[in-house]
């Protein structure tokens, strides 16, 4: 994944709570074996509605999604993250997130910023007032700013997620450096091998 330091972009106010990952990317899109091209499926059930916020020209090209409470609950589909990023979003700001979605985001470099309900409402108002406004999400300083309004807030990210975002690190590479420890653990592990359970055709022995 690419390192992420400071994101600058315009915001788009979603103003809906409980947006689950089925809404972010409907399951019909999950049949694909590729990792790219999911942007067209983003919120696809809502995008037929010409008044839907992503269809409004003043928000075209926005890269920071302002979402409601409990964004990304439900299904574990990482396709939701791929769809948001493929569409052009680099960060999502919300009062709370689904655990698995937030975790998936950190693996792809999509920055999830948790702010209070009031702060997100304030951001919504500022962006609606002037959609061309720049928002700054700074992963180094852990802050969100709206420079022309003199507005800024700190946010919390667990230190390891922050470091991984800044370094663009591959989790697997990091864990494989612990291979000796994994091998030592396996020597004492009682996890039953499936080799004794099924034959080469998957029939129970």
């Amino acid at each position: 994944m690419k390192p992420v330091h400071v994101l600058e972009g315009r915001g788009v106010p979603l103003e809906r709570s409980d947006v689950d990952t089925d809404q972010i990317i409907p399951s019909d899109w999950l049949k694909r074996v590729e990792r790219t091209g999911f942007g067209r499926g983003l919120f696809s059930e809502w995008r037929d509605d010409t008044t839907f916020v992503l269809n409004q020209p003043q928000y075209a090209g926005a890269s920071i999604l302002l979402a409601g409470p409990r964004f990304g609950t439900g299904s574990s589909r990482e396709h939701a993250v791929w769809a948001l990023m493929d569409y052009g979003f680099e960060a999502v700001i919300a009062p709370s997130f689904g655990d698995i979605f937030r975790n998936n985001s950190s693996k792809q470099g999509l920055v999830t910023v948790q702010l209070s309900v009031k702060d997100v409402e304030d951001l919504n108002e500022m962006v609606k007032e002037d959609p061309s406004r720049l928002l700054v999400v700074d992963v180094e300083r852990l802050s969100v700013e709206v420079p022309d309004a003199g507005w800024h807030r700190a946010f919390v990210l667990d230190p390891m997620t922050r470091e991984r975002l800044l370094g663009g690190w591959d989790d697997i590479g990091i864990s494989l450096r612990r291979e000796d420890a994994i091998t030592r653990y396996e020597a004492t592990s009682v996890a039953p091998s499936l080799v004794g359970v099924f034959d080469g055709e998957g029939h129970a022995r």
């Binding site: 399951s27 049949k31 698995i100 693996k107 291979e179 998957g202």
Partner: protein, 468 residues
């Protein structure tokens, strides 16, 4: 010093390394794989020239997008077909056991793990599917992961994890006979809300949980994620041990007794404390139905559709209003007066043999209401075979139900079993999100017996309303 919770025991047993200031590296005992969340992970391995570290701890099945039509019917959707082929090819290339469409062990991943006995107490289990929490019913730490993590587990058999907080949900007392495991978990999700369990692992406890069969416990643990919790647990007891005895994946004879002795330690200590403790009174529970577009929007079957005026918070009012509009419901309408178009009995929540037996006992001798499409989709080929040996298929067919091949089917709208826009469905599945069962479809979550009665009556109904 206070004792340990079951979660803490499971966690400690699987720590590979816990470096200061970094997430703990946790060992994974069983990795379950299906066609939807794995192809990009296998691609990642190939790109980086990595192998699967422990193919012998990895098991794959086709479930999400397999058609449930008769096996001779070809798969029409080329994209689905390609994904199913990719699973077979990837498993072959990396040496993983796979159960493709038609295989004797094929089925929904969360049905086959326990029924084959490869899900065992004390294990860590992951799968690229949020309903992996199901396996916690057997006293294992089981949770859903994303595709990047699937790739990570394939490559390392470990996952970097932050320790969760612990929550005890005790359901005390004996529920009325018409209250099923599904009603218990709908009550819990309704109480916690969709985010109440976030950051927690829930242990389900109390008399009403202990009294459940393993199938019932799986139904409860299955929907932990609907309250935001990644994992749910039930401590091991003799019900667990009896369920596992004789299954293909467990040791046989004396070795089984040795294993069982070890498994019995997977309980929370009496003096263990939880970060949060919730108590529900089982005697207050009734059959429930969801009315809205998230699984916490629950009302009693005997109740009415709620109104935005019932809530005070303005955001909450909007949420209720939006849900009512999507569901095309009017506040104050009795649930029992709402007609349905489709009834779906199946999914990783409610497609096990006990669920099918319960539903069959309701429909026996009756006919599905005219104009209602009713489907029964066994969770696995083994469940299907067992049900057929008991004559349940004939009970359903005689009543006018479709009796289909195993798979995820109408739970999630990514195979041919979908609702058409505007159709209303009583479903034994786990999610009533907008469009979940097909674009524009309207889902109401219910138990298998309520689904069965609803099919016969053509509107939401309880079994005692059905007179054969």
């Amino acid at each position: 010093m206070s004792g340990k919770t079951l979660y803490e025991k499971l966690w400690e047993n699987h720590v590979v390394v816990a470096p200061e200031g970094e997430p703990t590296l946790l060992y994974i005992d069983l990795h379950l794989v299906h066609e939807v969340t794995s192809p990009q992970a296998f691609d990642g391995l190939r790109l980086n020239d990595r192998r699967v570290r422990r193919p012998d701890l990895t098991l794959a099945t086709a479930d999400h997008n397999v058609p449930t039509d008769p096996l001779a019917t070809p798969i029409e959707d080329p994209i689905s077909k390609r994904q199913l082929e990719a699973l077979d090819e990837n498993c072959k290339e990396f040496g993983i056991t796979v159960f493709p469409r038609g295989h004797e062990n094929q089925g929904i991943v969360h049905v086959i793990g326990p029924e084959l006995g490869v899900t065992q107490p004390g294990m860590t289990i992951v799968c690229g599917d949020s309903h992996t929490s199901t396996h916690g019913a057997l006293g294992s730490l089981a949770f859903g992961i994303g595709t990047s993590e699937v790739e990570h587990v394939l490559a390392t058999q470990t996952l970097p994890q932050q320790k969760a907080k612990t929550m005890s949900v005790s359901v005390e007392g004996t529920p009325a006979p018409d209250v099923s495991a599904k009603d218990i978990v709908l009550a819990i999700v309704g109480r916690l809300g969709t985010g109440g369990g976030a950051g927690y692992v829930i242990e389900y406890r109390g008399e009403a949980i202990r009294a459940l069969s393993m199938e019932g416990r799986m139904t409860v643990c299955n929907m932990s994620i609907e309250a935001g919790a990644r994992a749910g647990l039930v401590a091991v007891d003799e019900t667990t041990i009896d369920y596992l005895r004789g299954r293909p994946g467990v040791p046989q004879g004396d070795e089984f007794d040795d294993a069982a002795e070890r498994w019995r330690s997977f309980v929370s200590d009496d003096d263990a404390s939880f970060d949060l403790e919730i108590v529900l009174d089982a005697t207050e529970l009734v059959p429930f139905v969801t009315w809205g577009t998230n699984p916490a929007q629950v009302v009693p079957l005997s109740g009415i559709v709620p109104s935005p005026d019932d809530v005070h918070d303005s955001d909450e009012k909007n949420t209720v209003q939006r849900a009512l509009e999507y569901m095309d419901l009017t506040p104050g309408t009795p649930l029992r007066s709402i007609p349905v178009d489709v009834v779906f009995i199946g999914s990783c929540t409610n497609s096990r043999i006990e669920d099918l037996r319960a539903a069959a006992s309701v429909v026996k001798g009756s006919r599905v209401s005219e104009g209602v499409r009713a489907l029964v989709v066994p969770g696995s080929r083994r469940v299907k075979t067992q049900a057929e040996s008991e004559g349940l298929d004939q009970v359903f067919l005689d009543a006018g139900f479709e009796w289909r091949e195993p798979g995820c089917s109408m739970c999630l709208g990514m195979n041919p079993d979908i609702l058409t826009p505007g159709q209303r469905c009583a479903s034994t599945s786990n999610r009533n999100f907008e469009g979940r069962q097909g674009r524009g479809g309207r889902t109401h979550l219910v138990s298998p017996v309520v689904a069965a009665a609803t099919a016969i009556m053509g509107r939401f109904a309880s079994p005692e309303e059905v007179v054969a």
